[in-house]
């Protein structure tokens, strides 16, 4: 049965698009049929991160408004053939999306894929609400700092109020993905600890993605980090998170600061 999963955060720039691409690719690498859908109409990014920007013809709005068929708009990944992208329009704005249109697209995607991953725009307005509207579960992205965590708390409230599942009285499954976790800074107490964030948000933890240059490196070459360098720390963290999404019990590793300390020692010597 298809799972519609929204990747959302409230706050901007915390890693929604990065995570959508990485989790989508990780699930597809495991043989699942995956469609990643860019809901960030007007600020589309997912096509770049997926390296598909030069193949975009039709987009979500075209399909939602009946101007194009789903097949015409879906872009198949060049590396994994069970991974598809439904891009956003860069020239329209979020008002061009209607709830009925989105529902039709999601329903059609449900018939073809195991996972439909919706990359939400930042904010709590219409765009973000449409991205979560038909979701079965949510991945809430937060960075370990107070403003991001409070925005995530806000989004969790919306997930429990504004989604179709919530309105039907069903529970909305929510998972926390803590991204850009910097073990050194956490060790110095400059960031919220994992426990702090979990205590505040009180939803289950899906994974902790370390802050890493690998993420930027991967996005520069238009590749989800799990595909670009599967051995890197962020890729391994995303691959584990994808396994947990599929119900596997994978031990959670909190990125330690040990390596960070060594790094700093070497950095000093070199200087």
């Amino acid at each position: 049965m298809a799972e519609v999963m929204v990747v959302t955060s409230g706050k901007g720039g915390v890693g929604k698009t990065t995570s959508t691409a990485a989790l989508g690719a990780a699930l597809a690498q495991a043989g699942q049929n995956v469609a990643v859908v860019d809901f960030d109409v007007g600020l589309r990014n997912l096509d770049l991160i997926m390296g598909a920007e030069r193949r975009v013809v039709y987009d979500l709005i075209n399909v939602a408004n009946g101007e194009a068929r789903l097949n015409q708009a879906l872009i198949r990944d060049k590396r994994i053939d069970t991974l598809y992208l439904l891009p956003a329009s860069q020239t329209r704005d979020k008002d061009a999306l209607t709830e009925e249109g989105v529902k039709r697209v999601i329903d059609e995607l449900r018939g073809r894929f195991d996972w439909i991953i919706c990359d939400s725009p930042a904010g709590i307005e219409r765009g973000a609400q449409l991205a979560m509207r038909f979701a079965d579960l949510a991945v809430v992205i937060a960075n370990p700092e107070v403003s991001s965590v409070r925005d995530s708390d806000r989004i969790i409230g919306l997930l429990d109020a504004k989604t179709l599942r919530a309105e039907n009285g069903e529970t909305m499954e929510k998972h926390l993905l803590l991204t850009r976790y910097d073990a050194q800074r956490a060790g110095r107490g400059e960031m919220l600890s994992v426990e702090d964030v979990l205590e505040i948000l009180s939803i289950p933890l899906l994974g902790i993605i370390p802050e890493s240059d690998e993420v930027l490196r991967a996005s520069n070459v238009g590749s989800p980090v799990t595909l670009n360098n599967a051995q890197s720390a962020p890729a391994r963290a995303y691959l584990d998170a994808a396994k947990r999404l599929r119900g596997e019990d994978v031990p959670m590793i909190i990125p330690s600061q040990k390596k960070g300390l060594l790094d700093r020692l070497f950095a000093r010597r070199a200087a």
Partner: protein
């Protein structure tokens, strides 16, 4: 919300409870004045047993019922002689009337429109402002005169009186139990009684209750207890990290809360018009 619901209480209190304690009679000069604006039930000595923290003064921006103990001035005929006595009194204690609520009580006095206006003007000339006139014939009421208070009824508030009369009996307190965290941006409003949260109140979330608020979790957002006029309401939480606490419209923001109480189980209540906090550790 506060203003709208509390406004009728303003005259409700004035109507019923304008306390008359000291009568200045022209012949009695040697009495001890100890005026208070507190409600009598707050003057109980119980506060000594409770820890009282030093905090900056609580700002109060609100409308709420308040009963004052007013000085009732009872002029005696001939009024001009009586006014001379008042002057003598003022000479000995200049500024005695300053800032105190004063009522001119002419009950049982021969006081026609002219005499009344003369008295009121005489007080104005002495820089003494009157809160109201008591015991005068209602027919003498004029716009330029202070409000007429008769048997605790303020004639000027007559248009508001129906509001007071129509105010329904407060419904039997009803508790509301919320079995989930209150998330940032959410607002729980429950005028009917207590609110119990099984979970935390997130930063940027608020709970507004007519009664007390119980938080079986961390209180990181705002809790407004007794928000519809109940100074006896309290706030309890397992972990105090709040942005704002308010009881009966009086509030404290995080900045005004001593670090000593933070992150601990705590209770907040109202005492002497300020929000007090104590920890359960």
């Amino acid at each position: 919300m506060k203003q709208a619901s509390a406004r009728p209480r303003l005259c409700g209190k004035l109507n019923g409870k304008l306390l008359k304690t000291y009568r200045i009679l022209s012949k009695i000069f040697g009495f001890k004045a100890s005026l208070t604006t507190r409600r009598p039930d707050w003057d109980t000595p119980s506060k000594a047993s409770q820890p009282v923290i030093q905090t900056p003064p609580t700002r109060a921006i609100r409308f709420r019922g308040r009963s004052f103990q007013a000085l009732a001035l009872c002029p005696e005929a001939p009024f001009d002689d009586w006014l001379k006595d008042v002057d003598a009194w003022l000479e000995r204690s200049p500024g005695f009337f300053g800032g105190k609520p004063l009522v001119l009580d002419v009950t049982g006095r021969e006081c026609n429109a002219e005499a009344l206006s003369h008295l009121v003007k005489a007080f104005a000339a002495r820089d003494i402002r009157l809160l109201g006139v008591e015991g005068a014939d209602a027919a003498l009421a004029r716009a330029e005169l202070p409000p007429f208070l008769s048997a605790g009824k303020a004639a000027n508030f007559i248009d508001m009186a129906p509001v007071v009369a129509a105010a329904p009996e407060p419904p039997a307190p009803q508790g509301l139990i919320i079995e989930a965290p209150v998330r940032s941006g959410q607002s729980i409003v429950h005028p009917e009684g207590d609110v119990t949260i099984i979970g935390s109140i997130g930063s940027g979330a608020e709970v507004i209750a007519g009664g007390s608020i119980h938080v079986y979790g961390a209180l990181r957002g705002r809790a407004l207890a007794g928000a519809y006029g109940n100074p006896r309401a309290r706030i309890f939480c397992r972990k105090l990290e709040c942005e704002l606490l308010a009881i009966d419209g009086l509030y404290k923001v995080a900045d005004e809360i001593d670090a000593e109480w933070r992150k601990k189980p705590a209770m907040a209540w109202l005492e002497n018009d300020s929000v007090k906090i104590k920890s359960f550790d």
